[in-house]
Subunit: 312 residues, 4 copies
């Protein structure tokens, strides 16, 4: 624990000295003016402790990180049938590309690009919603970390409702291929609501703890859940950072999912769940300092799914 | 060790009962008539032992698995400069697609699609070859497992020399973008030679042992090499099975590289290197039974980079 | 005139004997069951006469042929500014492809693919509608051939309103690139209404007469209008039959625009406007028998914009 | 004739005053430094006279204009069988794009993009060469305008031989799909040789006269040839200016084929063949001033396949 605290402090210090801070998302007006000086980090360990640094309790919109939670619910409700409606391959295209969706006849390449997330959410709505433990990402998160730890950014929610034209294009195209059961606007509403949820780094790290697939974790007491978590980690590693997933795997070596609000949730299987946040993004739409912080922390802790360096 | 032997025996038994066996590569005439009943498996552990099953000592052409070894040499010689000439992202297209190469102006998406492998090999030839420890994949492999364990399939070598039109198209296109220093035919020759090398499963598992990034391994005594291995694992996981990499990560959960000859090299970081072989391929060009065998073995051994299920 | 009548009679006879009749559009349910035995033809000459054959007075929905008329109005209202919002190049993709729209950042390739038609209609609506002579395709057509010659197919109109998901996808994507001033649903409504207009071959030939760019034509008394007609003909020739435009130009040699209802309007510059109709479509979505009839008529009349064969 | 001479003189004068002159092809080193002040124009009429202006007797490499002549020979030798190996549709992509070739499984979109021209030339070589009247473009041209009017630019020929990597990529890809009978280098050699032929505007206008499909023309005394000419015109109109074909049809309204050397051959069916030349190119690789000159001349002569404006 002491080693972790020391490592986090060193990361915070190094990040504070970094000049390049990226650019906030210009696609979401409520985020466009965000202060790129902001940074937070929190680690929830398999021992159940949370160690944090900098602005770890400042809430931010989780945006696409919510796709991990809706996928979890869809897998719980529909099992591997999920994969009849959405693929499991990296897309090689930006997060909002419509090309792949047309080329693959309405089957999004994976559940983390926008088209895939819309189809996943569609599986959780209406009469085909199945039997997930919770009926929304918000309810799922409340069960894990308590309602008090969760907010909603109304500015983001309202704005996206009216301006999400690309997402409406994707949803309509999926529907034209019969891959959307509910009305476009119904799906859009649920999508925007889960994207606009706000958590702090501390909340997010705790919320993502079930993905450690550690059966000691109180929320993960079944083999089925651990197995599911492992598979979600696989998807996060191959597809979680959009068109920067390969580079992220190379540099950081951990499964992770980013959001356009500047947050990233990363998992050290069997060991820890990490949340970082800084609103400035890189060219692929992932938090620039968040990625850098994860790289530094993973280095200092010798964390990588691709092998330990330290002699054991 | 006993658990591993029991697991391998069970896998061999289950594979023997499997009816669907895939189709040998029709692109390589010398492979087209291969007996899809053939299967071999070998595991080299971090303790330095090799446990094997079925036709583990039958040699087969390693084909694209050789791309892992040439990449290792290029990273040794050129370090991260490799990434100025080839990307690190999954392609979302088949292994021999020329689309991406044009779209990204001569920079192949990753070192494991054919275009990327040609550029990597180009980095090992001629006056810009750098300072790799060996001047060819064959020499690299001989240093690891001895010349006796390595052969070459002349039929494959000669055939591909004359018929590799797609690869010549890729090489010429890369050259048109100034991303090939040597003559197209020089690069083609080296490419074909390393693809036509033959190893058995036992030889391949030993040859790939350095990718465990385990410093106890006799061939991997430096931190630098362990660090490099870790990064190669990341590339194998995100890009190693062509357009089936995402599904492979989901089902098997290990970094791996397949070859059109039916072999697959998979790595359990810090624990083991696995080689499987069966010539029947699936739609993405990966060994059907080889993939299935890896899935079974990983399940039985609780091996996955995305987390252990067994309570520790 | 006698030669024309003889030619039309011969075409009608030959078409009646043709076995291959294509398939009605399955995308529009109200058309899906259409009798592919139906066929009509009418030619309006520069002398002002109309010669027709078979079911020349049966009304059918003009569908995409309406795009010619809305483009005419947009050019009248906005002149060459139209081309700041839509291109003039053949697309090399099907009529409803969304790929090009994304690749060209919201600028449709031409005004005859669906995305282009939606943008053109947008230019005729709202406060930026400009100063076209008529405020809708219907009004434009009424001024030319009288209200009695024009109907609307309510089944088609209502159906498409609710099921045009691809078009909504295109409109939303255009809007995401700021290339749609009006609400998506407002544009969709106008689009569907003009597509559902019904004309007979006789009506359509007279309605298209202004495209002969013949100043003797009563509707075409200005040089400006003749010049505009000439340019619309150019677009019809290069882009009028979707991804079959090249082959149509090769076989028929006349500017033309097809509709999914089975109609085609073709122009013999300075000589005649031709309308044909038969509901069975070919693979590119153009009327199979309509195209064949035009090929036969053009052959018999020695009509081609690419040169006369007969010694003059 | 007097009207034509007056029109040409006016065009020459206007072009001389034009400031924007485009950029010579940088892809062909021997052309890269060309003086963009150069301009020539010649018109060969159906009466058999040639009227010219400016540098109408300066030779230049015809480059891709040669594709019209090789296509003529292939159609003569193989008839419509040509279209089993190459398409007739505009490509919507640049002239040297390899994407379409892969997407359409080795069938180039049309005979005027590079891939298509290579396949057409392949049809004229070797044991499947068929029965064309001449065995090379050079022989075909010599029969029309005499050997004295034709040269070859050795710099261009030698240079392209060694540097045509994109074309080699295209040829290899076509061969991988079994759409090239001869060796890649054999086809490349013939391709480069016909591209490096030099003609003056006067020579080119006379050489292209057969495309007027005028049976009075001495070289075009058969209906079959006139019919073929008409179809080549159709291809020139839809595909002759690469990805600028639609705009060219809109602005100029004549079938035409451009070459990267700055020449353009345009046809006024039944009336005239026009050659213009100026080495500065626009963004699509077509002569900037050449296109402008054709637009001016067509305007002054009321020439357009899409209709005459002048009251007849």
């Amino acid at each position: 624990m002491k080693r972790l605290k020391t490592a986090i402090d060193a990361v915070v210090e190094e990040i504070a000295k970094t000049d390049a801070r990226g650019t906030p998302s210009q696609a979401v007006p409520a985020l466009a003016g965000a202060d790129t000086g902001q940074f937070g980090i929190a680690v929830h360990t398999c021992e159940g402790e949370t160690v944090s640094g900098a602005a770890a309790d400042t809430p931010f919109t989780i945006q696409s990180i919510s796709k991990v939670f809706s996928l979890t619910l869809a897998l719980e409700a529909h099992g591997d049938d999920v994969w009849t409606r959405v693929g499991r391959e990296p897309s090689g295209d930006p997060f909002n590309s419509i090309v792949d969706l047309e080329r693959h006849e309405g089957i999004p390449r994976n559940p983390f690009i926008n088209a895939g997330a819309l189809v996943v959410i569609d599986m959780l709505l209406g009469k085909n919603a199945g039997k997930a433990s919770h009926d929304s990402v918000r309810a799922f998160l409340e069960a894990r970390i308590g309602a008090d730890a969760i907010g909603i950014d109304d500015d983001v929610a309202n704005e996206e409702q009216s301006s999400g034209f690309v997402n409406r294009a994707l949803a309509n195209l999926a529907k034209s291929f019969d891959n959307l059961d509910n009305e476009v606007e119904t799906v859009m509403k649920a999508y925007v609501e889960q994207c606009a949820l706000t958590l702090s780094c501390e909340g997010l790290a705790r919320a993502g703890a079930y993905l450690m697939s550690d059966r000691a974790d109180q929320h993960s007491d079944s083999v089925a859940e651990a197995r599911r978590a492992r598979r979600i980690n696989a998807l996060m590693l191959t597809c979680g950072q959009y068109d920067g997933s390969g580079e992220f795997a190379y540099r950081v070596g951990l499964p992770a999912k980013s959001g356009v609000g500047g947050g990233i949730l990363a998992i050290v299987p069997n060991e820890a769940a990490i949340a970082v946040w800084s609103p400035g993004l890189d060219d692929n739409g992932n938090s620039l300092l968040g990625t850098r912080a994860l790289e530094l922390l993973a280095e200092k802790m010798d964390w990588s799914v691709f092998g330990s360096i330290e002699r054991r």
